[in-house]
Symmetry: C3
């Protein structure tokens, strides 16, 4: 990345409560404390790296308010409430510099069908397809090679990255961000077994994605059989995640990479599912429950609890059984000793 910020510009963004030292450098990159060089900015986001803050060669360092060290020569400390949040704010500015949204309008190579409604402030990039009766809201951005199906609706300030497919009738509310290759609205996996064949059950429902959802690259979300597959406000979904038909995902949920959620499951608000976890059909994961990575959940999970394992069980029970499992060689030996002890006969 090629960026450049003066220290004044950085101060304006991170709004430090206290300043120590000074530097003649401008900031051209961000790096970790240990890796940073002159002309770079670093930050103390995790106290276990505190020692590195004293020796970093970064020209500008974001530090927590209670940090008591002093800068080296030609080094500037900005003390802030939360260095991670301050850095995120700075990175957001970098993001806008690196990837400015193109001017509104429809690229000449895009195909927008008659009957589609595209807001004048929206940007439709090269080689996108927008089918009839689709609606694209204010300032939304279809980056390139995006497909928006017949009757699909996109709200305001959405960003659909290259290769995203939003199938017919599906709905994105506002500020939804879809990473490259996401598929929203593929058919649910439903068949009736009739006379030795799997006959397709047509899937004529849709998918509704609420405000501020982000979905990772190449993830897939199936349309409902006849109602709606729903992803609630503020939920974040990582790459290569599968969401089956008729699933309801609540608000502010986290689904890590390669999670799979079977049909008609419910994931409640604030739940967190670790990578590669699988949730069975019609299962409910309670509010703020946690599911460990690679777990297989085949029963309802109570709110606020933590389950783990394949098959999943309560986390503490699983940990205890795991310890005992590793002691099986010892147990076999103890039983053998008992069998051979004089008292036995």
């Amino acid at each position: 990345m090629q960026v450049s910020f003066t220290t004044d510009e950085i101060a304006a963004i991170v709004q430090p409560q206290q300043v120590r030292g000074a530097t003649t450098e401008s900031v051209r990159a961000i790096a970790s404390l240990g890796a940073a060089a002159a002309g770079e900015l670093s930050f103390l986001g995790n106290l276990k790296y505190k020692a590195e803050a004293a020796t970093t060669r970064a020209s500008v360092v974001l530090l927590p308010l209670d940090y008591d060290g002093q800068p080296q020569p030609n080094q500037l400390f900005f003390l802030v409430d939360n260095p991670s949040v301050a850095l995120a704010r700075l990175c957001s500015r970098i993001e806008q510099q690196l990837w400015p949204k193109p001017a509104p309008g429809v690229h000449p190579t895009a195909h927008v069908a008659p009957g589609a409604r595209v807001a004048a402030s929206a940007t439709i990039g090269p080689l996108c397809v927008v089918e009839a009766e689709a609606v694209i809201g204010e300032r939304s951005h279809l980056q390139a090679q995006v497909y928006v199906g017949r009757g699909a609706q996109i709200g305001d300030d959405c960003w659909l990255m290259p290769g995203v497919i939003l199938a017919a009738e599906c709905i994105l509310r506002n500020r939804v961000r879809l990473q490259p290759g996401v598929v929203v609205g593929s058919d649910g996996f439903g068949y009736e077994f009739v006379a030795g064949r799997h006959e397709k059950i047509p899937q004529v429902g849709n998918v509704v994605i609420e405000d501020d959802v982000e979905i990772g690259a190449n993830s897939t979300l199936d349309r409902a059989r006849f109602s709606r597959t729903v992803v609630g406000e503020g939920t974040k979904i990582d790459n290569l995640v599968q969401v089956a038909h008729n699933v309801t995902i609540g608000r502010h949920v986290i689904l890590c990479a390669q999670v799979g959620i079977s049909g008609s499951a419910t994931i409640s608000d604030y739940a967190v599912l670790g990578g590669q976890a699988g949730i069975g059909g019609h299962i409910t994961i309670g509010r703020a429950a946690k599911v460990g990575g690679q777990s297989a959940v085949t029963f309802n999970v109570e709110p606020g609890t933590y389950v783990n394992g394949s098959p999943a069980m309560a986390y503490m029970l699983g940990q205890r059984l795991e310890v005992l499992h590793r002691r099986l060689p010892e147990l076999f030996k103890r039983v053998g000793d008992l069998e051979n002890s004089p008292g036995k006969g």
Copy 2:
């Protein structure tokens, strides 16, 4: 979805054997018994919801022949052999209304190379690419942004949804449906380790997909090393499934989401693999065998059997071991008691 059917139209589609009651409503949507409102159709597909059939507000209800209840005022009951199948037939009609296949022809933004043969009845949608010597059969539909490689062959009545990639020389027979983002014919993962480097083994075989196969969004099927990767007639594959090179999948198989099948494995007719299951290389899964979700299969599975677990084992054995595993704390205690019992010394 915006649809409208008169009750006469619905009767023509579901062909009821018996009719009870009447309604002045037309049908504008489908919903479950509990959720349905006036102007909607519902159905009793699972007897555990029988109580809801008596109180549903749906205007039209599909019920099994032996249902003995009576409709409410302004409510119409259609009694049919199989309400789920009847509903599927209705949804199929809805699907055609919602997503009518565009008229035959090649969209002006598509690129069809000289030497490709496209049936006059086929539809090539916007921004598709069809390479030289490819063949597209009667009434087949490439929806948008589809890629068909050199010498690939597509039979009749296939539907390739947006973003599908069918690589060179690969073959789809008839009525194959590929959901968005499917990749057919990526290179198999084959290397020789020579002098400290993984040297690529070129993969010059192809993939053959037989009649009536459906493949889910973003699934990937690799071409064979030099022969064929095969998916048999009527098989249904869910989203994000990986099929490696030289795999042979039989007829009417079910592969749930995120399944992974390693190279040269054979999945026999009517087998069912649960979500996220993994099958080792050169393994054979017997006819109508079942593999549980998240299982890891490293041995051949006999026809008609059910295996589960990672590593997989016979289902009943796995269930028994799981029960005993959870009793390990008790077993350790019992052994401790024995060791401390007076009889021991």
Copy 3:
């Protein structure tokens, strides 16, 4: 595949050290020893098929130097150092025949933004998008519907297959091959939990892919938070693999299909990860270590060791525990017997 090689052409490619017999056939296909017919070439790559070499109907057979059998009438044996490598060399030639790289130049349907630099020897296929400031090196091939973001850099002799997405600022060195649908440079999955919401941490780093890397269909590699996600020279990645932000993958690593690697993990040179394995965040897998399929690794793995299981443990320990686990029914019985034995009371 439709190919044709004379026996002289094949001899020139595989350079046999010894020749036995002769055939009037030319070679039109490759097949396994058991399946081959006249006009086809086969090879003995694995000694367990040695018996089949004596009875194969292939017209040309590649055999190891120490093979002592004689050809049948109208059959030609080529004895070579390594039949698998010889076959790979032949298949490479077939690959070039089947899929010749199109002539250099930019296809008229591609969109190359002003300010992008495309080598005169590069091929930009139909409906590709190359954004401003991107660089495409000598002889590199963007096959079709590929996206190359702003400021991305592609070295020499790379091959990006249909539907590949290389996001802004990401870098491919030389001879990198990306299978269809690969996403390089999606945002890392990073959020701060602030006031009940997951606030996005912008991901402004990039991804760097070194020389001779190959990545499988629909795999996803996330850009770093502010530094680099790296894939080292010669590493091979299979389909549907997830590589999170800030991961460092060494040289000549093998990642099988559906592997998931969490943020900031390090996979050292020559490591091999089996299909569907998951690696936790900030974990280091040592040089030439092996991780079994479907394993879940939550601790650092020493160089050269082999771990397996979910949770993972040393392979030999896991095998031993698995054997004892299956003997739990017996152990419960033995403990019951002890409890009931006369010596107990």
